[in-house]
Subunit: 363 residues, 2 copies
């Protein structure tokens, strides 16, 4: 293999694939990045066996061929260079890298031993603008569970139906749901591992279309320069819609920033009491309370538009702050049934299409 590529593009491609390189795999070759040159195309690939990525580099191919080299070292080294072009040549499993003033040799391993990152052959179920998808991931994914004992909850649930994409995530203590209008004639539903979701989010740096292609147990996202493939989480996602309250006794419209800063203040007092903050809904005012036998107590008073019955509920400050952090409208609504029912939190906006649910704590 002998190729010549733009150093900037090589840095960018390595930045993308390097994150997928398994960091401490029992299979040493998974710590490597595959560089493959054929026809007029140079491809970088990495995989941790759950996820794989192909990055299309462009560049000039003098001789086709391939090699794998340690991903972390290659990335660090290449990032420290500052020339325009780099020439890469493979000889006897050693990669020779040359720029105008420097040259390096990196010991590699044959490409034959590298697990392929196959293209997923299946149906395209969706094409969506990357920045819309990225924003939706940001609003939803944080509610997914990190607890591997219920694998089904460690992903983001996608449902495409009737021209709508719904994305949901829950760890059973809180739930996020986002709804987006899409052009799709195919109905489908699948659960994407949270790790894949976050890597995809990082890869969507430009505004372009992402295509989603599904096979029986694999998913592939294609962008202009790259393909990300991943396993799908198998099983049936819980029917979360049944926990969403349909009618409410109390509705509060509050200033988002003011509520967040008061809950933040309360959180320091709530820490040793399971992060328990109590919200008391009174006519036109919300009281925020936290108590700690060891530390002391906190109480504050917010004005707001509160309609319906007087009510109260206790939330985990962490979950409430997570949600308020994602809401970027000036006002937020909190809807309650009673202190033992889930609370529903939404941005106040005529085109709000995201909903958060937090389960109450016993106070």
């Amino acid at each position: 293999m002998k190729i010549s590529v733009s150093l900037d593009r090589f840095k960018k491609g390595l930045g993308v694939v390097e994150r997928i390189v398994a960091s401490k795999s029992t299979l040493p070759i998974l710590n490597n990045v595959l560089i493959r040159a054929e026809d007029s195309q140079v491809v970088l690939s990495a995989t941790d066996l759950e996820m794989g990525v192909n990055y299309y580099l462009g560049g000039k191919v003098e001789t086709a061929g391939s090699i794998t080299v340690p991903g972390r070292v290659l990335g660090n080294f290449i990032n420290s260079l500052s020339d325009d072009k780099i020439t890469l040549e493979e000889k006897s499993n050693v990669l020779y890298a040359k720029t105008e003033r420097s040259e390096a040799s990196l010991n590699g391993m044959p490409a034959d031993d590298f697990p392929t990152v196959p293209k997923v052959e299946g149906k395209e179920v969706l094409s969506i603008n990357s920045q819309i998808l990225k924003a939706a991931i940001n609003e939803v994914a944080f509610s997914a569970s990190l607890d591997e004992s219920r694998p089904i909850l460690t992903g983001v649930y996608f449902v495409i139906s009737n021209g709508l994409l719904k994305m949901a995530a829950t760890d059973s203590f809180r739930l996020s749901e986002k709804t987006i209008k899409v052009n799709s004639s195919e109905d489908a539903s699948f659960i994407i591992p949270i790790k894949t979701i976050y890597e995809l989010q990082r890869m969507m740096t430009l505004s372009e279309d992402v295509k989603i292609i599904i096979s029986e147990n694999q998913i592939m996202f294609t962008l202009t320069d790259l393909e990300l493939t991943s396993r799908i989480i198998e099983g049936e996602y819980p029917d979360y819609e049944q926990v969403v309250p349909k009618a409410f006794k109390t509705t509060a419209i509050l200033n988002t920033g003011e509520l967040a800063s008061n809950v933040k203040s309360a959180s320091f007092f709530a820490k040793e009491n399971a992060n328990n903050v109590k919200l008391l809904f009174k006519p036109n005012s919300l009281e925020v309370e936290a108590t700690s036998s060891q530390l002391g107590n906190f109480k504050s008073n917010l004005t707001g538009q509160i309609t319906g019955e007087e009510n109260e509920i206790s939330f985990n400050t962490k979950y409430l702050l997570d949600v308020l952090d994602k809401i970027n409208t000036e006002e937020v609504s909190i809807e309650l049934v009673g202190k033992l029912n889930p609370g529903v939190i939404k941005p106040v906006s005529k085109d709000a299409n995201v909903m958060y649910i937090i389960m109450p704590l016993r106070s």
Copy 2:
């Protein structure tokens, strides 16, 4: 105690003293901040027994008194507030904090049990602009040792003599020395613990005079709003000037950024070989080399003004990069005797007043 203070100033003061609060002390009261109100002055204090700080808050004193409260919690909580003023009242060892919309109570401990942070009574040995001192600390302190087995090297050595302040730090592998003209009639020398030096550096946010006052085993730095006191490291600093070569066989003038980026590239190959990078000085060119039996090899070529004999030396890339990171002139000079003698590195500037020495590695 009952006082009213500006919330902004209270935040700033807590930000300063909170860092000195011992984080996991066996003496629980050292986790606390002392709030003391007397006459028309409110003072915040914290100490970890090695270092202490008094911060003068200003504010309105209604009733004099004092209390200590957990520093970390107080700091986090106060930082989350966003009013203009805060009222603080002590009753039965509880601190009641009130702003316009919120109120909190924090359980405290009596001030009587708090170790005093005494003013150091001694002679003023120096008054110097804080930003000049801050820049000098930045250039010198990183060479101090972190190894407690030779306590004398875990500080920065100050020598005031003949209208000059010299500051030096060394861990016996590399040395930094800075010289500054000062107005001082008192000669003195003392070793300041590196932790004190770094805290002082963070506290010098404004351009103002710092006064340094010395007693037998204590030092005090006074700024407009605060006093920082610390122990001095006892013992005699090594006579480091005797290791500084007086005559050289080779001098190289190189572009600082170019050298740094080439050494950085080499460093990834040098890692498994004790960070060993070899510099080969040839007529008008410097070769940078690193080799690793496992990873591979790196070699690059820099043009530069090299005078004297051809020469070579091996350095620890980490020490060399540390030094190059501090040099902000376009060019840097490296002066050598031979490959077993220390190398001397300086910024190229007519008013350069800093010198770095790095001991060679055997290559």
